[in-house]
Amino acid sequence: MPRSPCFFALLVAASVSTTLPALAEEPPASPLPAVPAAVPAAVPAAVPAAVPAAVPAAVPAAVPAAVPAAVPAAVPAAVPTGGFVFGSYGRVSSAGDGTGGAARESDIVAHGSRLDTSNYVELELRREDHWDKVGIDTRIVSTLAVGNPIFHYDANFDAQIAVRNLYLEASGLGTKGVSAWAGSRMYRGDDIYLLNFWPLDNLNTLGAGVRYQAPTRTTAQVHMGFGRPDSPFYRQQAARPAPLNQFGAATVDLLDRQRWIGSARIEQQFSLGVKGGLKVIGYGEGHRLPAGQRESARAGVYEDVPEETGFVVGGQLGAWTGERNTHLNVFARYAEGLAAYGEFASPTGLGPDRSTRGAHELLFAVGGNWEWERFAVMGAAYVRSFRNASPSLDLSDVDEGIVMARPQVWFLDWLGLGLEGSLQVQQRGALVTLEAGDEPTPLVAMMPRVGIVPFVSPAGRGSFSRPMLWLIYTVGYRDAGARALYPNDDVFRVRSVEQFIGAGAEWWFGSSSYGGGIL
C-alpha cells in the first residue's frame, strides 16, 4: 500500500526517541512537510561509516521507493565533507524566596536582571558541510528549546518545547562573502547580556535572507519572513455547514493573514589599534499585515479589518578593545505602527480606526563589559517609551528604564565573586489609587535590587566564560507603585522586600545563537 511522505516522517520521529512524544503524535496535516523529503536525502551522506548499523532501523526500506525524487542520481557525485555539531545554551537554577516559597522573576520592567530568569535550554543540532565541487558551505540548524517548568520540579512528565531554529544556510554563493538562508530562524544581532535583551534587532520569523560580507569589513544583510501568531488579530476560525450537503460542520478561516516582516542591516567595522575596533550599524524593518474581514460579535455580520503597516529604524555604535571581552555597545531604536508591538504581539490599545496607526516605541540602550586582570565590570541600561495606538493615555502606555552594573572579581582562575546592583523604574499612562482613600496619581513603580553571586568558572576568567556554576542571593525593594502592578493577595502585592536565594548554572557552547556573538 502506498504511504504518504508524512507517514515516514512520523515513523522516523517516533523511532528517534521516546522523549519526543509531541512529534510522534503530530497529525498528518503537520506544518512540517519539508521533513520527510529532507531526511532520506541527508541520511546516506551525513551518517559516518561507523553509524550505518543504526540507520536501517530509522529509515525503513520503503523510503527510497516512496520518495525517488528526493534522492537524485547526482547525489553520490556531490559528497560533501562535514559533520554534525551539537550546541547548547542553557540556564537552570533552583531558588527560594527566603520565606519557604519559590523564587519568582520579579522585574517590573520588560527587560530586567538575568539572575532570576526562569529555566531555559536550547539544544541545537547542526549539520555542517563543505561541498567541494562547488565550493559552498552549508549548515542545517535545528534548535529545540525547552522552557520552564522542569519535570523534576513540578512532577509533570511534560515540557514546554519550541523549535527556535530550523533553517539551511549556504555560504560562498558565487563569491566568498555571499550567503543565503531559508527556514525558521532566530535572527538577531548583539545582545545586552545582563538584561537578556537584544535591543536593536531580534526577529523570529519563517523566512529567508541573504548576506554579503565584503573584504572591506562591510556587512550587508536583508531578510524577509512571515509570522502568524495564534490570535484573533491574525486569524479567526468559524464553523460552517459541511459542503456538498454533508453532515456536520467544517472549520473555515474567516480571517487568516500573516505578518510580513522585512529587515535590512548594514554594518561597517573599523580597526582601532592592533586588536580593537569600532562598528557602526544601521538597521531597519518594515512590517505589513494585509487588510481582511472577520465576523463581528454579531453572527453573520462581517467587519473589515484594516491593513497594518509599521517600520523600525535604528542604529548601533560598538567598540571593543580586542582584549578579552571588553566592549561597549550603544543602541537607539524607533518603531512605529505595527512594528511598535513586536513580531509576536497581538496589538491592543488600537486607534479609533481600529488600527495600530500611531503606536510607537522609542528605545535607547547601552551595554558593555570591561575586564582587567582579575576584575571585570559589566554594565547595562535602557530607557524605553511605548505608546499604543489609542490616542488617550492608558495602562499599556509605558515609560520604563533600568540601570545595572555587575562588578566581578576572580580569586582563582576558576573561582570568583560578582556583585550586581540595579534600579528599575516604570511609569504608566494611568492614574491609580495606591491606598484606599488616596487620590489617584500617575502610576510610578520602582524597584532597586542588589545581589551577590559567588561562582565557579571552569573555563577560566572572563565575564563571558561559560559554563559557570553559581550561588545567587539578591534582595530587592518593591515600592507601592511596583506592588500595585500585582493583583490582590499576590505576595508581590503584599511584600516590599523580595529575596532570591539559589544555586544555578549557565552554559553555552557550539550554539549558533549564543557565545561568540557578543561582538
Binding site: R354, S385, S390, L393, D394, D399, V403, L423, A430, L431
Partner: protein
C-alpha cells in the same frame, strides 16, 4: 531602621532622579497625566442647556482594548461602547446642537449577573474606581476636557440607593448561596425565593432552621472576580449595618418597602440614614467631580432613598465643590412616578422636625448645619405621563398639560438652593420624551407625534433632554430593547428627525425667550373630537430673563384633523400688541418657514395647523 526603609532612603534619591530624568525628557512624557484638574464652572445658566442622554456602552466603541466579554448581538450584554468612542462623536453631537451630555455611571459595576450584564451602570460595586469597560480616569478626563472645549457640559449618572448583587442573605445558615430556600408565590410573584433576592420582611430578613426562625440572617459578600461580584468599595460599605437588609421590595406603595427594600434584581438597599453612608456617597461622587471636572449629577431612584439623605448629599456636595471653585453644579433626580407632589418634593427647601434635624446634624462634621435645600431639579416624569404619553402619543386632551403646568409652583421648589444653580428648581425641570427606562416614543407612537413632542420639550420652560437615538428614529420597546447600538445608525445627519432636532436646538439657541422666558398657556382644550380646537395647545415664552425676546408655540396634537386655537368664535389671544407680525420659524407642510401671522386687535392670532404639527412664531424683527 528596617531594610526596606534603608533601601528606600538610599535609592529613591539621586539614582532614581537620573532614571526619572531620562524617562521624562524629550518626547518620553505623559502629556496631561500629571496635570492637575482645576475645577471650574462651565455653565452660566442651566436653562440654556440641551441635554443628550447617552448609554455609554451603546454609543460608540473608541477603544477596543476594553472590549471585555462583549456580545453586541445580545441586548442585555456588553456592547463595547466607551468614553473614547463618545469623545470621537462629539462632532456629531455638536452638529445636532446639544450642549450637555448625560453619561452612564462612571464607577465600576458588577460585570454580569444571571447572564445579564451591568452595561447600564446601575449595579455599583466600586464607587471609587472607573468602569474599565468605559476606559480609565484619563479617558474620562479627556472626554470632559474636549467637551468643555466645545462648550458642552458633562453630567454623570449617580446611584446612591443601592449596590449591585454583591451579597446574599444566608437564610439557612449553611454558608452557601442557595437558589431556593422557600417561596410558594403566595406573598409575591416570585415563586422561588432564593438567598439573593428574598421577599421583603419589615423585621429584616430572618434566618431559618428546621426548628423555625433563628434571628437576622447574616449577609455574605461574594468573591467572584471574573464577574466582579466582589465586596463593595469604599470599604465602609463592607459592613452589614450599612444596609437595610429587609429583602426585595414587592409593594412599591408601601413606604417602608419603597425606602428600605432591595431593588428588584437583588440590588441591595443602602441604609441612607446612616452618617457613614451619607459621607461615603458625598466623598465618592464629589471625588469624581474633582477628578474630572464634570458639571452635574443625574441621580438615580431618588424616591427609594430617605429624604434626609438628599439634604445632606446635595448640600455637602455643593459646599465641597464650591470650596474648590466649582459652582452652578446641577443635580437633578429621577423619581419614576407620575405624581407631581411626590416628584417635586425632592426640590423643595423644607426643614424636618427639630428632632429630626438634630439627628441629621449629627452627621455633620464640618460645622455647616443642614438646611432644607435639596436637589436643583428632577425629571419631569408627571409630564412624561400626562403630556408625552397621553397627549402627543395617544391624542388625549391638552388641558391636562395646562393643569399640570399650573400646579408646578405648588409642587416644585421656588427658591434657588444655596451654592446651587442660582435658579429655582421649578424653572429647571428636565423635560424628556423617553429614556432608557421606558419604551421609545416610536415604539407605539408615530413620527409626527415625535415631532411635536420634540417641539414641545425644546420650547417649554426647563431643560430638554433627548435620549440618544431619538434623532435616528430608533423605536425600541421596553428595556433592553430601547438600548440599541448607536453605531447601527451610521451617525447619519440627513434624516428628517435629526434635522428637526438640529433646527429646534438652533432656534432655542437663537431665541432667548425659549430658554429663559416665563411661560404662559394661551390655549388648551378639553376636546378630543371633531371640534376645531381639539388637540390644540399653545403657550407663550416671554418676559422673565428673556428681555424683549418673545415666542409663541402652537401645537396641534390632534391626529385626525386640522385644528386652530379658537372655539365658538373665540380666538386665541396673546400678549403681543395688535399689528405685530409673527413669523413661523419652524414651518410645516401647509405653512412653510416664514409664513406670517398678524396679531389682531385685542391680541388675537388666527392660525390653523394640520394634524400633529406645530408652529413656532416669533416677532418678525426677531426671526
Amino acid at each position: 531602621m528596617r531594610v526596606s526603609e534603608v533601601l528606600r532612603t538610599c535609592l529613591r534619591g539621586p539614582v532614581a532622579s537620573v532614571v526619572f530624568a531620562a524617562l521624562t525628557s524629550g518626547c518620553m512624557s505623559f502629556d496631561g497625566l500629571d496635570e492637575p484638574v482645576t475645577l471650574a464652572t462651565h455653565v452660566a445658566d442651566w436653562r440654556d442647556q440641551v441635554i443628550y442622554q447617552v448609554l455609554v456602552d451603546r454609543f460608540a466603541n473608541g477603544d477596543t482594548s476594553n472590549d471585555y466579554n462583549i456580545a453586541p448581538a445580545a441586548p442585555a450584554r456588553w456592547h463595547g461602547g466607551d468614553w473614547a468612542g463618545l469623545e470621537s462623536k462629539l462632532d456629531y453631537l455638536d452638529e445636532l446642537g446639544i450642549t450637555s451630555i448625560w453619561i452612564s455611571p462612571v464607577y465600576r459595576n458588577v460585570d454580569t449577573d444571571a447572564e445579564v450584564d451591568g452595561y447600564h451602570g446601575y449595579w455599583p460595586q466600586d464607587f471609587t474606581a472607573p468602569n474599565p469597560h468605559f476606559g480609565d480616569v484619563m479617558a474620562l478626563r479627556s472626554l470632559v476636557k474636549e467637551a468643555h472645549r466645545r462648550g458642552i457640559s458633562i453630567i454623570i449618572d449617580v446611584v446612591t440607593n443601592h449596590i449591585g448583587q454583591l451579597f446574599y442573605y444566608d437564610i439557612n445558615l449553611n454558608g452557601h448561596a442557595d437558589d431556593q430556600v422557600r417561596g410558594s408565590g403566595e406573598q409575591s410573584p416570585v415563586v422561588h425565593i432564593n438567598e439573593y433576592d428574598p421577599d421583603f420582611d419589615p423585621r429584616g430578613i430572618q434566618s431559618e432552621t428546621s426548628l423555625g426562625e433563628a434571628g437576622p440572617a447574616p449577609i455574605i459578600f461574594n468573591h467572584e472576580p471574573v464577574s466582579n461580584h466582589m465586596p463593595p468599595e469604599p470599604a465602609v460599605l463592607q459592613r452589614a449595618e450599612m444596609y437595610n437588609r429587609r429583602g426585595r421590595t414587592v409593594n412599591f406603595d408601601d413606604p417602608d418597602q419603597l425606602l428600605h427594600g432591595d431593588f428588584p434584581g437583588g440590588l441591595k438597599d443602602l441604609d441612607t440614614t446612616r452618617c457613614e453612608v451619607k459621607q461615603a456617597m458625598v466623598d465618592s461622587y464629589a471625588r469624581w467631580v474633582e477628578l474630572t471636572d464634570v458639571d452635574g449629577f443625574r441621580i438615580d431612584t431618588i424616591k427609594h432613598v430617605d429624604r434626609e439623605f438628599w439634604r445632606f448629599f446635595a448640600q455637602k456636595v455643593r459646599q465641597r465643590l464650591a470650596a474648590k471653585g466649582k459652582t452652578n453644579f446641577f443635580m437633578f433626580g429621577e423619581a419614576f412616578d407620575g405624581r407631581p407632589e411626590l416628584v417635586g418634593a425632592y426640590t423643595k427647601s423644607e426643614l424636618p422636625s427639630q428632632d429630626q434635624l438634630a439627628r441629621e446634624n449629627e452627621c455633620v462634621s464640618d460645622g455647616r448645619q443642614i438646611t432644607g435645600d435639596q436637589l436643583d431639579g428632577v425629571f419631569h416624569f408627571p409630564q412624561y405621563f400626562q403630556a408625552i404619553r397621553d397627549v402627543f402619543r395617544d391624542g388625549q386632551s391638552t388641558d391636562r398639560i395646562e393643569k399640570l403646568w399650573s400646579e408646578r409652583t405648588q409642587h416644585y421648589g421656588l427658591e434657588p438652593n444655596e451654592l446651587g444653580t442660582g435658579l429655582a428648581p421649578v424653572r429647571t425641570l428636565v423635560n424628556f420624551i423617553d429614556n432608557h427606562d421606558v419604551p421609545r416614543f416610536l415604539f407605539q407612537g408615530d413620527k409626527a407625534g415625535l415631532g411635536i413632542a420634540l417641539l414641545f420639550i425644546m420650547t417649554e420652560e426647563g431643560l430638554p433632554c433627548v435620549y440618544y437615538g431619538t434623532e435616528q428614529e430608533y423605536r425600541g420597546g421596553n428595556d433592553p430593547a430601547n438600548r440599541e447600538d448607536m453605531q447601527l445608525s451610521g451617525f447619519e445627519t440627513t434624516g428628517g428627525t435629526f434635522q428637526l432636532v438640529q433646527t429646534l436646538t438652533r432656534l432655542r439657541k437663537q431665541h432667548v425667550a425659549l430658554r429663559r422666558g416665563d411661560q404662559a398657556v394661551v390655549w388648551a382644550s378639553s376636546r378630543t373630537g371633531d371640534e376645531e380646537d381639539a388637540g390644540v395647545f399653545a403657550y407663550e415664552r416671554a418676559g422673565g430673563d428673556a428681555g424683549d425676546s418673545y415666542a409663541l408655540v402652537v401645537i396641534n396634537a390632534n391626529p385626525n384633523h386640522t385644528a386652530s386655537p379658537a372655539y365658538n368664535g373665540a380666538p386665541m389671544k396673546v400678549s403681543q400688541p395688535g399689528g405685530t407680525v409673527l413669523v413661523d420659524v419652524l414651518g410645516n407642510k401647509t405653512a412653510p418657514v416664514g409664513t406670517k401671522y398678524v396679531v389682531g386687535s385685542g391680541g388675537t392670532v388666527t392660525i390653523a395647523l394640520p394634524p400633529k404639527t406645530g408652529a413656532l412664531l416669533v416677532p418678525e424683527a426677531q426671526k
